[in-house]
């Protein structure tokens, strides 16, 4: 059925009841962004659990210098698939496929995504891509084992024959197209389906960040896809694009990969930044501080992120060091603006320490550590010194674990909107402490380990009591993180249909809190007038609108 939607002023009933098949067929045929978003969420969380399980095996192996839990070959598969699952199958799809899919259309007052069937296709490509990549484990040669970056010529058919590598490429092709379609869909939705009065500079920061993310996807992912096709051609069609033997250039793969790979870092991060921005504002009962600055900071981060790829290649000796160093250092500026704006949002607020807010604060601190250590890596001499050691592993795990904290914040905050039920706050807070403390215990020793000279991707390492102690400490942290994941699952079970949420449990500010929980089929019965980026807040607190531009604080009447 096609619903021809009109935009009404108010409705007693949803514009259209959901119709079409029920049961399993409903999930296969749905084009409703909320159902697709839910599929994405569930799948991505499962991927996080799988990736986490692989990480726990890695940490167990490294608990002693000559660990015998897995073989050298299996170890290479483990970290490759851990990295690949986490980046390609968890963090990305969770960021721009899961919550974004559910929340963005509602935040701008749209009835659905602009291309609902394309949206469904994105999900199916993501799911089949995930299955393709993971099925490498079940082939005779094992899963891909050349690291999540697949550097040529290690990834060619001479050094890595076998189906696992091809399945890795195939999986990435599928998820890559999935991402591109999602990007197209988000841009079209945000440009064409906003509600009346929802001007660009009234969009919530989360939506802004997803718009910028979507554009980054469109800029970066086609490059990866092209690179993968070249890699496949090298492996099977006898081309020599990346091999010296036939006149190719191995380092070209690194250029292509990182031209996608660095923007990908922000494709992962920006949506989570958006979540945190909204959450901090709502739980401080204040508007986002420096809203416009926040938008421009996001855009600058995205723009700069396309010009920094070779900071991952400083030690190749063949890249322009000053250019990439300067561009990379510059990204710290808009990132800093964001951090100060987050603090500014809390300043003089009334902070409610819900689980979501705690997770957001955990994000802030963890991300600060990851961000500051990133500045070191933007300096080539310091990168020469730490590159490919555990220092780098520590740096990006501070960042990605911060994103996990932010994602959890997002689930606690928005989960009630699309399920209709709250999660248990007590379990949530315990989970937070395990996750937050675990993250620090896991990452902080790794910084030292890197400085003491332990390279990454080592299945075994020389007997050195210091190395072993730091590794063991890190493994304890990994266990704490594992416990936090179990607590999350336990919370889902305990809270299942227990605590009805109501439409607006947090005194939310944006449009999604105006509609019901869960929202009706095409999202809205009616819309409030949109006069700022906080229409729901303005509607609920007409006397407490944001003070105008440049307005100094004055005593409340």
């Amino acid at each position: 059925m096609v619903d021809v939607l009109e935009r009404p002023a108010t409705l007693a009933e949803p514009p259209h009841e959901a119709h079409g098949p029920t049961g399993l067929l409903k999930w296969l045929t749905t084009t409703d962004h909320k159902v697709i978003g839910l599929s994405y969420t569930v799948t991505a969380v499962i991927m996080m659990v799988i990736g986490g399980a692989l990480a726990e095996i890695i940490r167990a192996q490294l608990a002693s210098p000559n660990g015998t839990l897995v073989s050298l070959a299996q170890f290479n598969e483990l970290f490759t698939m851990h990295g690949s699952v986490m980046i390609y199958l968890f963090a990305g799809p969770f960021a721009f496929g899961a919550l974004a899919n559910i929340i963005v259309p509602i935040q701008i007052g749209a009835p659905d995504m602009a291309f609902p069937r394309l949206n469904a296709l994105s999900y199916w490509l993501y799911l089949t891509g995930a299955i393709t990549m993971l099925s490498g484990f079940f082939t005779a040669g094992g899963a891909a084992n050349f690291g999540w970056v697949g550097y040529a010529p290690l990834s060619n058919s001479l050094n890595t024959p076998g189906a696992g590598a091809d399945l890795w490429i195939g999986g990435l092709l599928l998820t890559g197209f999935s991402a591109i379609f999602t990007g197209v869909n988000l841009v079209a939705t945000i440009f064409y389906l906003r509600a009346p009065g929802m001007t660009m500079f009234r969009m919530p920061i989360f939506t802004w960040n997803l718009l910028v993310t979507a554009i980054l996807i469109l800029l970066a992912f086609p490059v990866l896809t092209a690179g993968l096709i070249m890699l496949y051609a090298d492996r099977h069609f006898g081309t020599h694009i990346f091999s010296v033997a036939g006149g190719g250039v191995p380092v070209l793969w690194q250029h292509i990969f990182w031209f996608w790979g660095h923007p990908e870092v922000y494709i992962l991060a920006l949506p989570f930044f958006g979540m945190v921005t909204e959450i901090i504002a709502v739980f401080s009962r204040k508007p986002v501080f420096g809203y416009k600055g926040m938008v421009f900071a996001t855009i600058s981060i995205a723009a700069l992120s396309l010009g920094v790829w070779a900071h991952h290649m400083f030690t190749t000796g063949v890249v322009l060091l000053p250019f990439f160093s300067m561009m990379s250092l510059l990204i710290a500026v808009p990132t800093g603006i964001k951090i100060f704006n987050w603090i500014g949002t809390m300043w003089r607020g009334e902070i409610w320490f819900s689980t979501a807010m705690l997770m957001a604060l955990g994000f802030l601190v963890t991300f600060l550590i990851g961000g500051l250590t990133g500045i070191y890596l933007a300096s080539p001499p310091l990168d020469f010194f730490t590159h490919d050691t555990y220092f780098v592993v520590a740096h990006f795990h501070s960042v990605v674990m911060a994103l996990v904290l932010a994602g959890m914040a997002g689930l606690y905050y928005w989960g009630p909107k699309f399920t209709g039920y709250l999660l248990n706050e007590t379990i949530g807070k315990v989970q937070f402490w395990f996750l937050f403390v675990g993250t620090q215990v896991f990452t902080l020793p790794l910084y030292l380990l890197g400085l003491r000279g332990m390279p990454r991707r080592m299945a075994v390492y020389p007997h050195d009591p210091q190395w072993q102690f730091l590794n063991d400490l890190s493994s304890v942290g990994a266990i704490l993180i594992g416990v936090s994941t179990l607590l999350f699952v336990a919370n889902l079970v305990v809270s299942w249909k227990r605590y009805p949420a109501g439409d607006n449990p947090w005194d939310g500010q944006t449009l999604e809190w105006f509609t019901t929980s869960p929202p009706p089929h095409h999202n809205f019965y009616r819309l409030p007038p949109i006069r700022s980026e906080r229409p729901t807040w303005d509607h609920n607190h007409p006397d407490h609108r944001a003070l105008p531009h440049g307005h100094r604080v004055e005593a409340p009447e």
Binding site: V2, T29, D166, F191, P196
Partner: protein, 130 residues
């Protein structure tokens, strides 16, 4: 529309400048080409939006004073449900598996893709139905 256009055009401009500096300074072609392509990806849609932003009346979503009523009217046609995305996805799945396990998988792969394309287009023209 105007903000959208400016946003993309300025991104394109930025990539153009950075790309040029990079390419002249480093003499490395791959990055120069990729930044050039990024510039185009800013200019093409940006130019399109700019063209239209000058030729159409401001939409209610661009009007800060718009009321809910001013936006009433048809928003668009949204499919209620459809089996074709799933079919197409499975087709793509088999096509990719053909890259790994053998060319014969292209038969179900491309078969499903073709079927889904026809089915999807027909569905749109009919205006509905699963």
């Amino acid at each position: 529309m105007r903000v959208e256009a400016r946003f993309l055009l300025s991104l394109g401009l930025f990539f153009g400048i950075v790309g040029l500096i990079y390419w002249l300074w480093s003499g490395e072609d791959a990055g120069g080409v990729m930044l050039g392509a990024a510039m185009l990806l800013g200019f093409l849609p940006g130019g399109y939006y700019y063209y239209w932003s000058r030729r159409m009346r401001p939409r209610p979503e661009d009007d800060p004073q718009a009321t809910t009523a001013s936006g009433s009217g048809v928003v668009g046609a949204f499919p209620g449900s459809s089996i074709w995305p799933f079919t197409l996805g499975m087709g793509a799945f088999f096509t990719v598996l053909a890259l790994v396990f053998g060319i014969w998988l292209l038969v179900p792969g491309l078969g499903l893709v073709t079927w889904a394309l026809f089915g999807g287009v027909a569905e749109s023209r009919r205006g509905g139905g699963v």
